[in-house]
Subunit: 593 residues, 2 copies
Amino acid sequence: MPIYNAPLKDMDFILNDVFKADEFWQANENLAHLDMATANAILEEMAKFSKNVILDLNRTADEAGGAQFSNGAVTTPAGFKEAFKQFAEGGWVGLGASEEWGGQGMPKMLTVLADEMIWSANPSFMLYPLLTVGAGMALNDRASQAQKETYLPKMYSGEWSGTMCLTEPHSGTDLGIIKTKAEPNADGSFNVTGTKIFITSGEHDLCENIIHLVLAKTPNAPAGSRGISLFIVPKFLVNADGSLGERNAVAAGSIEHKMGIKGSATCVMNFDGAQGYMVGNENEGLAAMFVMMNYERLSMGIQGIGAAEYAYQNAAQYATDRLQGRAATGAKTPAKPADSILVHGDVRRMLLNIRANNEASRAFAVYVGQQLDITKFSTDEEAVRKANDRVALLTPIAKAYLTDKALDSTLEAQMCFGGHGYIREWGMEQCIRDLRIAQIYEGTNGVQAIDLIGRKTTKCNGAFIAEYIAEIREFAAGLEDALAIKAAVLTVCGELEALTQFVVEQSKADPDFSNSVAVDYLHAVGLLSFTYMHARISKAAQPKPEAFFQNKLVLAQYFAAKVLPDLAARTQRIKAGAVLVMQLPEEYFTAQA
Amino acid sequence: MPIYNAPLKDMDFILNDVFKADEFWQANENLAHLDMATANAILEEMAKFSKNVILDLNRTADEAGGAQFSNGAVTTPAGFKEAFKQFAEGGWVGLGASEEWGGQGMPKMLTVLADEMIWSANPSFMLYPLLTVGAGMALNDRASQAQKETYLPKMYSGEWSGTMCLTEPHSGTDLGIIKTKAEPNADGSFNVTGTKIFITSGEHDLCENIIHLVLAKTPNAPAGSRGISLFIVPKFLVNADGSLGERNAVAAGSIEHKMGIKGSATCVMNFDGAQGYMVGNENEGLAAMFVMMNYERLSMGIQGIGAAEYAYQNAAQYATDRLQGRAATGAKTPAKPADSILVHGDVRRMLLNIRANNEASRAFAVYVGQQLDITKFSTDEEAVRKANDRVALLTPIAKAYLTDKALDSTLEAQMCFGGHGYIREWGMEQCIRDLRIAQIYEGTNGVQAIDLIGRKTTKCNGAFIAEYIAEIREFAAGLEDALAIKAAVLTVCGELEALTQFVVEQSKADPDFSNSVAVDYLHAVGLLSFTYMHARISKAAQPKPEAFFQNKLVLAQYFAAKVLPDLAARTQRIKAGAVLVMQLPEEYFTAQA
């Protein structure tokens, strides 16, 4: 069975030393109840839960074929029910939710770390509470007081769960063309009719009710994305006293057979005149979705970190145990038949790539979490504005760059196992299959890149990234020259500044430009961000003599020398523009070769 | 169900126009019986077989869980038996084998194309004949006349199949530490005892006998790789008249549960004093393996092309059919609810990346196939020497670079499908799972890279690559300046020359250097090779006005502008050397973070 131990020491280092969480919390009256001792106690509890309760269920659920569907009902894998009960009773569903509705009110910079552990240990399990949290967030922002009172406490207690019903068979990225209809009833409710696909946790046996948040069009709604409204459609109608009433006309038609996350039930949901209640204003459904989008998309990035950390731990252990060949500098363990494969540069290269990306990813998630906390808890308007811009800019990086790097990492971890990595029992191939969805759902990584280069960059003439680079430059200026990462950070800032200027100009000249180079630009901004994170890590580690900290300075140098060079390739591709991408006629692509 | 149509027109173009196969065959008396008409007839037949017989079995086999094991017996997936019978009766097993033993004597530059189709349509199926061909090649080279007469005709007819038994639980890349023993009997035979793992087609129900080629150590054999001998161990002993005798003491203990290629039975084989017959000289077993290694490793590269071609065709079709969003330059099909996603630069980028790599890969496989044909069929000693050096240099590229690019391609193809790519019925996720093994088996791609940078580069002070670059330069010099690829080829030649010189020097200075930068160097040589292939394709296409050919000039430009920039990153990483890779102590990797 694969191993997993939560990286508590690194988490404490990032919160406490890199981002000085204590000071940040104490300076904010909404968070002053929290300190590092409490934070670490929470993380230690989650470390136990993830290792002792859900880790082994991850492999057994996959081997058993995942969630099962029969006659409209979904049975979750063996052990999930008991684990979820324990999770709910521990108050974990509402860890980051408002105390007003039964949550624990913890800041995002802490919950990202707790979430990482669940993603490491059992990503399919994580998806059940995750969608509840997402739906809760949308309700918290847009629902009426009565709706909040009816649904939120039950959702955060884990008695009920939530879903987000957006996608339809013909409508994924392009939500403007959805067909699901909501016809008004005399009592103010609506009859919702349509088919939604890819609905995570659309049906399951972990909770007594499921609260679907559904995008649909009212009669005579404007065409396109401006004519979409949001509805609550509960699986069981809720009586005035909060008890469960009749079964609503919504049911799972089937579950998808997927590459991975098989323990998570991905449902086709049929709404057949189901009773629904509008949330917020008519035709503002998409906007309500965007409220929680930044949080959800960061969650996918954390799925990436979780998978890559799990993969790393197992690969490093395997590489330590596996004896094969001899060191190029002569046998390291002559008494044994061979040396550990850690003597080979190519194996170390893979492990260090993973680790250099993982540690930067984790710091980045906490950094973005902190920005989200500022937007939510701060009373300083200018700070909130800046944090909003920063979150807008970095959300596509958090989602797409972190998951792209994580896929690379899980593939490299699998490769460390040689042939054994291809065998199911080692767990590495499942890790890849489970992770792969993170690059696809919540907007594919290509869509994230287009969001970054479009709405977040060219639309504001690069203002968001200019402000980000200014912060990074200011930070770098404060570093000692002896820190090798300092020069790297300053160089990357200059390169990204020039590249962004080029991107903004070219986008004006050629409408196809930004879409054609979007992914390369996203990776360039990702590399800037990870260099910045390694600089912040290095600064915090520098004064501490223990090897744990000093090794971080080496890892930062490794990052600058071996990972950062990808920027050269990305830059060249962006400079090559869109012409060759768009030149060939559509029929070229499917013509018989 | 996924589609597949063999790219016959491209295959004809590569054979006929790019490599002038007719002239090459006519100029060689051992191949003069072959012409393009015959070659195309063979390819057309295989196109039909791959599409009509084995394509659909690929998905059904995977869905049914692949090969099944029970009480030592393996049942192949439904339909495999009938398909294999048809394959064998068509003479396909021995397509490239010597006519002396019942083969069809076809050159490698043709068989690589036939093989590609099978790899596209059904990689699990392909593995059954593939190992037979590999074993046949080793026997053809090293076995006694009597052994050849006994085994080869039955193997090439498909009545019997073959395996290669190398790996043991503790011994994979490092074969010097195998433990399987071969004790001599008075009659000249041996008793073979040991456990071999990862044995492709070790047991199955497609053939009446299975001929295992087994690496084992005789008593008192020297330690390490110089003390390994090769043995024939048939599943059923063969009587003097060629009929099947007693069951030998060899049996499958289990089959592996794998990420993919589930239709292929990957067996644990237990040899329990099984009767075996030495092939060739004692202690020369590894050398016998290396005979067929260049062919086998090229086969893995072709597995890559096959998967990437299949993925491309399906992704291009999906992208054409899927309507979502609008073109940046304004709606292309205003009468429809949305435009095809082919209007988006990011989708085109993915499809063009795949296609630019696929077309170069296919040409490269034929190029290496032609070099192998020179080594086998030519009577010109100097030509044979040069071809042997070229094959030695390029085999790691054919195996590792082609499969690395193919994995990128299948991942990008899956991404073109959005969420649907994650759903099993579309076949894209299976394609990735099936392909992934090609980067791992037959020596991981890391091991290939170490072979390239070590034995093939630093050991000869870069002589092999110098000769390769000289050929490329001479070719490029003959190109018209108007061909955009000309400048790219000449630039890359200069860059690889300088990089190789750096690599040779650094390897002498630091024993850890070459292993630490091996994969980056392999990718650099891969990029050189693909640029060369696009130059050869461009030269052949240039005079032909049809869009099919002229589009190849655009694709070559796309390659130079958008794929080749990876060389800049690879070069920077190589220049960064090994120090940061090797600096951290072994315990760093598993210390609790």
